[in-house]
Subunit: 505 residues, 2 copies
């Protein structure tokens, strides 16, 4: 079957990914290496993610704030693990002025900063310093702050949305009176990330704690959600950290209560534009982007198949009638239905395939024939055949709304089946090797492991050989497989956990 | 009369401004000089500004996108006036890694960038480069793009919200097939800025073209809206630029139509967190912040005057009843009413004054007495006496909604009266000197001027002597004062325009 993209997933997954982005006009590489221009269609997806998640954050008592882009070098240095984790990928500002030297613009030597500034890779340090000023007494706790912003981590092997030197994200920072409460917060956010991935993005993630080797620099505990892409690789789609008192100690975030002065307990957590890469690699097909309706810039695009102004106006008014919903509550995933109309002019086929490549959930075509018949032609983007269905115009909304609702279930179900088909339980390193060398799709391997042995060479060499990593210790039924008799597949000693081991982005 | 701030406008306007910000907990100076931490109450105001203006932009066909933070030095250099305007305030990134040298963290000499990168002071250059790729034919025009982001202009004399090295803004960038259409776009945006200032911020701005000496670096025409602060100084609150073909020439933004290949015509325009400074200095009083309801984080704060959990619960449920609006459409400035409840505990007075300093439009107090009487005590922030008014609980919404609506008119009217009282028509430099040396409030002076003489020493020396600048050439009735006989007050030759001359931020 001919497909709309020049390459299929089967032929070359990495190239297919780039072609989905190009075909849907989501983004492009920027002139600055490792950065991207996010184009309107891609940015509209991010805005939908942002607005939905922001509502959830506010409903749970979080408030937005904004902290500076630039961080003094000395700040980063205060938490030893933290600086270790980020020093190698920092963009460094050293001057605050340019000067013209012999006709060439250069950083002005007279405007060298006494202390270099770092473009924030994340804001624990600068927020920690602010929290130390904001918090005095236990009445100031919990302090639940979120920031939507850009961050910078210099990337040697960039890939659009997945790894870019600059990316957009939300970063939460909270402070609490007790370790229990801070842990509860970090866990609440993990749940919110998991539910958001399921409900808005239709991505069935595995949620769980990270092993010590995969923790955020400076965290006591890190949890993540891990999604399986269509090539079987894992994508870390959100992380939540219990930071203990590591940051409150170095930034002196203290509060007083009846017991006197104490250090606060803090958390941080983030989710980024990387999610868009996750959506692409979870749902899209060889015809291009496929979008969950909740985050689609429009739910319906109406193609008006005419060229002359008069005929176009007639079609437009006919099309407008489709959305005059009377008593029907025209909502999709809790928001008013979003639609747009496009004059397809003399190239209706091209306009149709543009909509397919862009992942518009419902594509409606209206020409003279449809108007005469009192109907519309409707194509569901999730239908593999992309066939047109003729619907009576008066029935359009009553037809479209349940279809859009069912798409969400369909996408989630499809992704879940795919993941479950590629989730294998592994009882030995021999089996691990076999699973990662013989299968068409690289799997998620559920491996009994003794985490105390994580850093040992016999574990790391097996993982390294197949380019694997411990993604997380998935919660719920997965851990139930563990019995006192279960042995670590790497060391043969008693297993402490079931880990998901996989290749990853 | 005792006031809630430690200093009044009369005593020290600059210090009063800082105290309003501190008293309302809007923002604070950050550790990095010239930057600020925008705290939740301040950021919520920005979010309201953002969301309202974003809706207007989308309704007029603009789409959001995102471009990189970092700009190659060579890009900035291509438009000569542009680089001239920004070179002196650029933060320059020179390294992409840190290294540990003898226990001290330093920019890694081996990770020096071949070409330094500039933290964007504005994005004409990088957007211009993208537009050159995005635009092929006349069908791609007009291209109407907006970006919400942070920008950086190194500031030697920073003031919170007004001049900060980093600030948040929206920057629009559009490309058109003709000069007329691009001019129309820049004018449309000017109108949107003026209307937004009036309707959402209650600031009666003067809108008009800038003189050549005050143009944006690289623009053919710049228009601005200028607001009068309570000390009489002007605040430039938004600018819109017709860039002609200056940027399309250097970035090669070309399109083809029936006439062949042509350069596009572009515009750019921006409005920033500076608006918050403008709102503060337009409306606030010696008791702290006063906010137009449209941008207030909450319209109503209910103070529950109790300490015990049981009594608090009773008051809370009573208070909740106030907002069960039945058939009343509970909207303020087109959005659902925003309210919050605060347990005022044992310090009701403190909670009341906090709400006053924060500019909450309506402050409601509920204690046992109110519950017993079936009433609530309501205070309007705009009432100079801040007196309590007792309202029947059942009438609360029907009372509050028109009061909130009238506040908008009241604030605008008050600001307009103030401005008009300090708007003087000046017919000679002697009168100009008198107006700027004798009045209690520094005025806006309407001066006939011949703009061809703007750069001449006799003009610049008079302006410089009183620290004045030409703010804009205000449109509408102001220009109607001009007759063929009107003389330029600086040169005595025929005047070409009426200019607003003022001190400014």
């Amino acid at each position: 079957m001919k497909t709309a993209l020049p390459v299929t997933r089967q032929e070359d997954f990495a190239e297919w990914y780039q072609q989905v982005i190009r075909g849907a006009d989501l983004a492009e590489n920027a002139v600055v290496r490792g950065c991207m221009n996010i184009k309107p269609w891609g940015y509209a997806i991010w805005e939908n993610i942002q607005q939905r998640f922001d509502r959830l954050l506010k409903a749970t008592g979080h408030r937005n704030a904004y902290f500076p882009l630039l961080i003094p070098l000395s700040f980063l240095q205060r938490e030893a693990q933290h600086v270790e984790g980020f020093a190698k990928e920092c963009a460094v500002v050293t001057h605050h002025r340019l000067t013209n030297q012999d006709g060439e613009l250069k950083p002005d030597p007279d405007a060298r900063l006494e202390e270099p500034l770092i473009v924030r890779p994340t804001s624990e340090t600068i927020v920690g310093d602010a929290f130390a000023k904001w918090i005095r007494s236990h009445k100031d706790l919990p302090l639940l702050i979120n920031q939507w912003c850009n961050v910078m981590r210099w990337e040697m092997r960039p890939r659009m949305f997945l790894r870019t030197s600059e990316f957009l994200w939300q970063e939460g920072h909270t402070a609490h009176a007790t370790a229990e409460e801070a842990t509860r917060e970090a866990r609440l956010i993990l749940d919110m990330y998991r539910d958001f991935a399921l409900e808005a993005l239709c991505i069935p993630v595995l949620a769980g704690e990270k092993s010590a080797g995969e923790r955020f620099p400076g965290a006591v505990t890190t949890w993540s959600i891990e999604a399986m892409m269509q090539d079987g690789k894992a994508l870390q789609a959100g992380t939540s950290h219990f930071l203990g008192q590591n940051f409150s100690r170095v930034y002196r975030i203290k509060f007083t209560d009846s017991l006197g002065e104490q250090l606060a307990w803090t958390t941080s957590w983030g989710m980024s534009t990387r999610l868009i890469g996750g959506v692409i690699m979870t749902h899209s097909d060889d015809n291009g982007l496929v979008l969950p309706p909740a985050i689609a810039p429009v739910h319906v695009r109406v193609l008006l198949l005419a060229d002359e102004p008069e005929e176009l106006a007639r079609l437009r008014s006919y099309a407008q009638g489709l959305f005059d919903h009377g008593t029907v509550a025209a909502t999709v995933s809790g928001e008013p239905i979003r639609y747009e109309m496009t004059a397809a002019g003399r190239r209706p086929g091209e306009a149709f395939w543009d909509a397919v490549r862009q992942g518009v959930p419902l594509i409606v075509q209206i020409g003279r024939r449809e108007v005469d018949a009192g109907s519309v032609s409707v194509t569901r983007r999730t239908d593999a055949d992309l066939r047109r269905q003729s619907i009576r115009a008066g029935d359009f909304l009553a037809h479209a709304l349940p279809v859009l609702a069912s798409m969400r279930r369909e996408l989630l179900e499809r992704a879940r089946s795919f993941r479950d088909a590629n989730l294998v339980t592994v009882a030995s390193t021999a089996q691990l090797t076999k699973e990662f060398t013989s299968r068409a799709t690289s799997p998620f391997a559920l491996c009994p492991i003794n985490l105390a042995a994580e850093a040992q060479p016999e574990v790391q060499s097996v993982l390294g050989e197949h380019k694997l990593s411990i993604r997380c210790l998935p919660e719920g039924r997965y851990q139930e497989e563990l019995t006192p008799e279960t042995k670590c597949i790497f060391t043969g000693i008693a297993a402490t956990h079931i880990a998901v081991v996989a290749r990853s982005y």
